[in-house]
Subunit: 249 residues, 2 copies
């Protein structure tokens, strides 16, 4: 990654660092045309929730990790933005879970796939991470989706029972839920269709979520499944935070 | 502009068209790295205000046009995103006002300036618009700003009494206000520093604003200055719309 010179004491340092990472990823051909715009939407929502992890988001993160740990065939799906923002942490989490990563992008081109694999392989080797990265040669399809975005790997997304798909679009989220999977999404907009469709929605910024999950693992602070978890209540709590921030103007 | 194939009956057609225009502008070298991210933030806020012009935004638009009409030396400042989204309409408005356009960008490079002038000149010739476009050779500076973003033209921004600067950043907005100008900004986030600093803030999407202003002119529905206009009340009305949309979830 190229140098990034912002002052770490800047109150919006993390947000600026994420923005820089996305701009670099765009230059490296890792992203679709619309990826930077999508990141901007995320920035706006993150600003509205205060650019920090809410209590309900932390609870959802813990519950998500517990489900991933309890899964028979968990998988972590990476798109371009997720790779750029949290590729290292999510590969480390996959290594701990002994589950595969699947690079799975909406606008699939060979050039983008190669750029993403190049980026991940470099981090993997540098940090000696033992993880299987799928997605170069998808061999099956997600039922109910059309075109290149239906493609996935049988030993990855297709056969998974629990799937972490950060920053997923609504159609795919719905199709994965229809397959009977426990679908965990990370989405800063608590009112998006993905947020409403998912089994567990973490309304938080993906690099904070990934760091937080990895920290739970590394400190051996391992969560258990929360039987009473209610995703609608979880979403409502995030909606309340945003509405509250506007009321207090 | 390249072809854009979305169905005009799609409920989010305008938003998709704007996104397409920005992606094209990026490919043509008109935009800074961060421009698409900024557009995404705008998309998120526009979604929150319902992707339509609110009554208070229309009132602010009318008052803004009245001030531009009454100005001795009005000017319209264009950055990359504004040029891509509303270059035609804003040049037509400037022609009516007999005021100059000034291309004035935050991250100034010769390559970007040339791309923006090329784009505007093409529209200007195609539609036979009689307007003076400044900004290629800035000859003075906005007091209180540092670096390339301080540069401006004496016969444009510097000497203006009323300035329309859509999508302006907080620092520049503050510096222009400090020069004693009537500063009109267009900003979808009613809580941004620009929104709070400006004399008149139009909390609306720039292409809707520009179309609306041009329509007022073309139908000869010309507004007068609203003496009682209170920008804080105007901002509060937009904040209430966003908070209301969250409360009604």
């Amino acid at each position: 990654m190229s140098s990034f010179s912002a002052d770490p004491s800047h109150p919006r340092y993390q947000s600026l660092l994420s923005r820089h990472r996305l701009e670099q990823a765009a230059k490296q051909g890792m992203l679709a045309d619309s990826a930077l715009i999508a990141h901007g939407r995320g920035e706006a929502y993150d600003y509205l929730i205060g650019e920090k992890t809410s209590p309900n988001a932390l609870e959802a993160t813990k519950n998500a990790l517990a489900h991933l740990m309890a899964g028979k065939n968990p998988v972590i799906s990476l798109n371009g933005n997720t790779t750029a923002l949290a590729g290292y942490e999510l590969m480390k989490i996959a290594e701990y879970l002994q589950c595969p990563i699947e690079v799975n992008i909406f606008y699939r081109t060979e050039q983008r796939i190669n750029a993403l694999f190049g980026y991940l392989d470099e981090i993997k080797q540098e940090h000696d991470i033992n993880v299987n990265i799928l997605g170069k040669n998808p061999d099956t399809k997600i039922p109910g989706l059309k075109g290149p975005r239906a493609k996935c790997c049988d030993e990855g997304i297709y056969s998974s029972d629990v799937i972490l798909v950060p920053l997923e679009d609504g159609d795919r989220c719905e199709a994965l839920v229809a397959m009977g999977k426990t679908v965990i999404v990370v989405d800063l907009n608590p009112l998006s269709r993905s947020a409403k469709m998912a089994s567990i929605t973490i309304v938080d910024e993906i690099s904070r979520v990934a760091k937080s999950m990895l920290n739970l693992i590394e400190t051996n602070d391992l969560p258990v499944i929360e039987i009473e978890f209610n995703n609608n209540k979880n979403l409502q709590a995030s909606v309340n935070i945003i509405a509250g921030n506007y009321r207090s103007v």
